[in-house]
């Protein structure tokens, strides 16, 4: 018997599911506490967050908390893993395309600018493990965005499972991590374009027993900037929003960070993502701009929930 609770955190919907109702309260408390810490450390939409202070201190070494250090190092690892397709130095580019506050606060049609340019690049972030310091070069502004959310899912699922002594699934905006061993038939997850879709929406349902499942999509978190439709996935090579070849990509990996990185990078790479995903044996479901679905590396054939 699964039990679940929903709430909002990190600017998106969050859901905690436990195998057994008795574990839910403890698991929920553990997840919420970690997410408060992640928000205080990693949100670029908060002027008082650690990362905002770090961004204002570009040019000099700043000692940061273990949590922010972990998030930054994870972001850099994701950048190396994707050859820079997912890059935490997109902060300035995100502001330029108008994504400069929590999504719920974005104006319906913001001011327009054409000043896009390639992002500075993750190699311009220097980290010192011994001193736990981070140095950003002067024109670098970090946005840990997706990788921090996925990391929070991985960490909170593990924390919650240990605290509750039970299997736990954590979903943060549709980025899912599971821990503590699966229920007998696994964790059933609906695959959708929008993580806010109702659980009884029609669509494919897959079962995961370990690791992480993440979906990136250009169809949600969209806004208009002087009449031009924008989405939130930036191509670091141009500093502009990524061209839409795949409108939605879902990936299953050994953890949510890797799944999220692969899904987001695939949106940016377009057709070149297919051999990369296959080479790394990452199961993926990819939806072309025209709605055609491609399944890779053992992603199961459609099982439709009615």
């Amino acid at each position: 018997m699964l039990a679940a609770a929903d709430f909002r955190s990190l600017g998106t919907g969050a859901r905690v599911v436990t195998a057994g109702a008795a574990a839910l309260d403890v698991a929920l408390a553990a997840v919420k506490k970690l997410l408060v810490d992640v928000d205080e450390a990693c949100s670029r939409f908060r002027d008082d967050s650690e990362i905002s202070q770090l961004n204002r201190a570009a040019g000099r070494a700043v000692r940061v908390s273990p949590l922010l250090f972990l998030a930054i190092e994870t972001g850099l690892r994701v950048s190396r893993m994707t050859g820079g397709a997912v890059d935490p130095t997109v902060g300035t580019a995100m502001r330029i395309i108008g994504y400069d506050r929590d999504f719920a606060e974005l104006p319906a049609d913001g001011k327009f600018t054409l000043a896009v340019r390639p992002v500075p690049g993750y190699e311009r972030v220097r980290i010192d493990h011994a001193r736990r310091t981070v140095t950003l070069q002067p024109d670098v502004e970090l946005d840990l965005g997706a990788s921090a959310k996925a990391l929070a899912a991985d960490l909170s699922a593990q924390l919650a499972s240990e605290a509750a002594g039970a299997p736990v699934l954590v979903s943060l905006g549709g980025d899912i991590a599971v821990a503590g061993g699966p229920p007998p038939s696994g964790w059933p997850v609906l695959i959708a374009e929008d993580s806010a879709a109702a659980l009884d929406s029609p669509g494919e349902v897959v079962s995961i027993k370990a690791g992480g499942l993440a979906t990136s999509s250009t169809t949600v978190r969209r806004w208009r900037q002087q009449g031009i439709e924008r989405h939130h996935i930036v191509d670091p090579r141009t500093g502009a929003q990524a061209r839409v070849y795949w409108r939605t990509v879902s990936v299953v990996a050994a953890n949510c960070v890797d799944a999220n990185a692969a899904a987001t990078a695939s949106i940016i790479w377009g057709p070149d993502a297919v051999p990369w995903l296959e080479d790394h044996r990452l199961a993926a479901r990819m939806v072309r701009a025209n709605g055609e679905v491609v399944r890779l590396s053992g992603w199961p054939a459609a099982a439709v929930a009615v």
Partner: protein, 100 residues
């Protein structure tokens, strides 16, 4: 720069994150690429390295190097889920994975 209140919050986070170092999951996730990051929390004793990599021009090469690793030889690769951990399901979903 930081107010006493901010410092207190950061100190509380530090205490909480120290607990991370004892998590047994580090062994599990460490094998899938978070080793360096978790090790920072566990020991915090690596010497510093500056990240370097080729500019983004397409998918990452099959083998890349993690410059944060002390011996600089550990590949940084995405890790696939254990075999058998993904399948179809006819159960009512417990969660939704979608864009956000």
């Amino acid at each position: 720069m930081a107010t006493p209140q901010e410092n207190a919050r950061a100190a509380e986070r530090d205490r909480g994150l120290r607990a991370v170092s004892s998590w047994t999951w580090a062994a599990g996730l460490g094998g899938v690429g978070l080793t360096g990051a978790i090790a920072v929390l566990a020991a915090g004793s690596f010497s510093g390295h500056q990240a370097t990599a080729a500019a983004a021009a397409g998918p990452a090469p099959t083998v890349s190097i993690d410059p944060s690793n002390p011996d600089n030889t550990t590949p940084t690769q995405p890790q696939s889920a254990p075999q058998g951990s993904l399948g179809g399901s006819s159960q009512p979903p417990a969660a939704v994975s979608g864009g956000s």
